[in-house]
Symmetry: C2
């Protein structure tokens, strides 16, 4: 370990307490010594993704949160509804480090050549969590060396969103679909998927909720944009699905009727001109729910025949399924497009302590489209 | 064509009229001459299965039905709700013959040896519909010769329920599950599945709604029976799922929360003793909806992690997937068990005209557990 390194690092932790509250704080934890194949990264930038919020907030009622302690060591406390408390039973009393991905400079490395080769380099990292910290030790397997001169901030979001966008496209190919419907399509991920589909000439039907989101996507080259709050939503989605032959959807909303509406439109598109079929069309229609912007129940009207499926979709099991070689190929594709197809933008930058102000917390907990926070732990 | 055959046959038809009503009647249609590989069957017995009701009733409000015409030629008229009328747009004005399966005596045969071989034999038949008729012409491919001396009534239900029960078990094997949860488990199909699983030593968790249905299944040898209306339903289902390692369910109910509850119990069983997992267990949990006893929306609470799927399941596409050779193997299994594992029982027998009385119509439209109608067209 280099002499210039501190003995401890600040680490953002989420703790579910027995009194039915979540407590967010900054803990001093020991800076670990890298194992042979590990490197120690001084984290310079780590995004707050929707997929971090489940672990961070534990389903707490953020609007009832309070903050105490000094400004540089805030302690946030927020109550947990009964259902959230039941779901979190397994983590009561265990402080959890948070943060799925980030980027920074390698300041120490294990003895393996692959680890040594990264010393002094700026790398992106994902895997194992705990990136909301000043220092984080990770295996070189989970590191992506950034091109020389690229700042850490450009690589901070190089894993979750890019690999999810690629995972959506690969799932389409693996399951023999030819086009994709995507909801919450104006999100950072949605805009990325739009760029990816444009570059790979894959028809993409973007479902959004607001006129300005339609504008945003159209100005980014999207051909099919449907507004779910418009009176003609079902007709416009059916037309887009018919035109693209989309029989696969990725839904980040989860709750409510949107998934059901998509299946209904796909079924209507499949039946155009085909007369009556007693059990509906034979075309298999699939929706994967990969997010939960609406945490309410999913309601399926089942007016879309019998050839349909809905299921959960998660990046990690998908990557396990495709295997290391394919993951490597996708990672290279990401590396080549970090400032173009796979670029992320942030609306707010905060320090570790800044992430634990009530204003910031309420803002990123809302998961508002277009708003994205970046934590700068070492700034 | 043998001289003794009539020129016309009575055929039960369902017609969706432009005035938003369904009309059920008996039509005189020409008795067809069998093609080379076809046989003409004098239908002696044909069951009314839940899977016939969609085509027959077209979603009509049977409680508001009226009947006119002479007793031997009743004409039933029942109004269609708006949603049903929209769904039936493709069949307005086209009379549809009804009846998925039946059995009877081959009274004429085409020139092919396979057809000639069945002349005078009692056969079960399925495929193409229209079995609610005095005479029906079908390809020999869709015929199953009954053992010598077996009456037609014993073979009337030799296809839909037996092949569905076998299809459920085959799906379990094909998708690498080791046990099955089945809802509406006291139905004719449910009892059959119970016998099949007992004989093949497959753990089956039977979900029913009433204490007497629990009794029925336990007295038929069922080990796991859970009553969805009992206060301890979730606990008892979780325990049964844990003990059997069931990660697959076949649900005939469709609407409401039952499918969601099953997934919740499977997830709870998977997580017992495994502590907190942020995205839930990695065990894939699957529910197939193959019926619609509750036609209301399916509500998914999504408190069962991300490794789950729900989808429609239908016998015909399943059979297409497994192919002719495998179908043949399953058909032989059915033939060998027609009076044991695959036996059906009927609570009511009616003529073609008797199926079109309001009392009968309301009774079989209700799909009450344990009640099953058999049409005897030639009696």
């Amino acid at each position: 370990m280099a002499a210039s390194l501190p003995a401890t690092t600040l680490q953002l932790q989420s703790l579910v307490r027995p009194d039915q509250a979540v407590q967010l704080s900054l803990a001093d934890v020991e800076v670990p010594e890298p194992g042979p194949t590990e490197v120690l990264i001084r984290i310079e930038a780590a995004p707050i993704n929707p997929s971090d919020l489940g672990l961070l907030l534990a389903g707490a009622d953020v609007s009832a949160g309070t903050v105490s302690g000094p400004a540089e060591r805030p302690v946030v406390t927020a109550p947990l509804p009964d259902a959230a408390m039941r779901a979190m039973a397994g983590r009561v009393g265990t402080p959890m480090p948070v943060g799925n991905e980030g980027a920074g400079v390698v300041v120490a490395a294990g003895s393996a050549p692959a680890a040594q080769a990264l010393l002094g380099k700026t790398v992106a990292a994902a895997g194992g969590g705990g990136m909301y910290a000043q220092y984080r030790c990770v295996d070189v397997l989970f590191c992506l060396e950034l091109p020389a001169g690229m700042p850490a901030v450009d690589g901070a979001s190089s894993f979750v969103n890019p690999m999810t966008a690629l995972g959506i496209v690969e799932t389409m190919r693996l399951e023999n679909h030819v086009a994709i419907v995507h909801t919450a399509a104006a999100s950072n991920l949605g805009q990325m998927l739009n760029r990816l589909c444009l570059s790979e000439q894959i028809p993409l039907v973007n479902v959004v909720r607001r006129p300005e989101q339609e504008e945003l996507l159209r100005s980014a080259g999207a051909t099919y944009v449907c507004n779910s709050t418009a009176p003609d939503f079902m007709a416009s989605l059916t037309a887009a699905v018919k035109e693209t032959s989309a029989t696969l959807a990725f839904d980040a909303v989860g709750g409510g009727r949107l998934a059901s509406q998509i299946l209904t439109c796909m079924e209507a598109a499949a039946n155009v001109g085909n007369g009556y079929s007693r059990y509906g069309s034979a075309v298999h229609k699939q929706v994967y729910i990969y997010g939960s912007l609406d945490r309410g129940p999913t309601e399926l009207t089942r007016n879309f025949g019998m050839a349909w499926g809905i299921g959960g979709w998660l990046l990690t099991p998908f990557l396990q399924k495709i295997g290391l070689e394919e993951i490597g190929r996708l990672r290279s594709q990401v590396a080549a497009g970090l400032t173009t197809t796979f670029a992320s933008t942030y609306t707010d930058e905060v320090s570790l302590a800044g992430a634990l102000t009530l204003d910031a917390l309420k803002a990123y907990a809302r998961q508002a489209t277009g708003q994205k926070y970046l934590i700068r732990p070492s700034v």
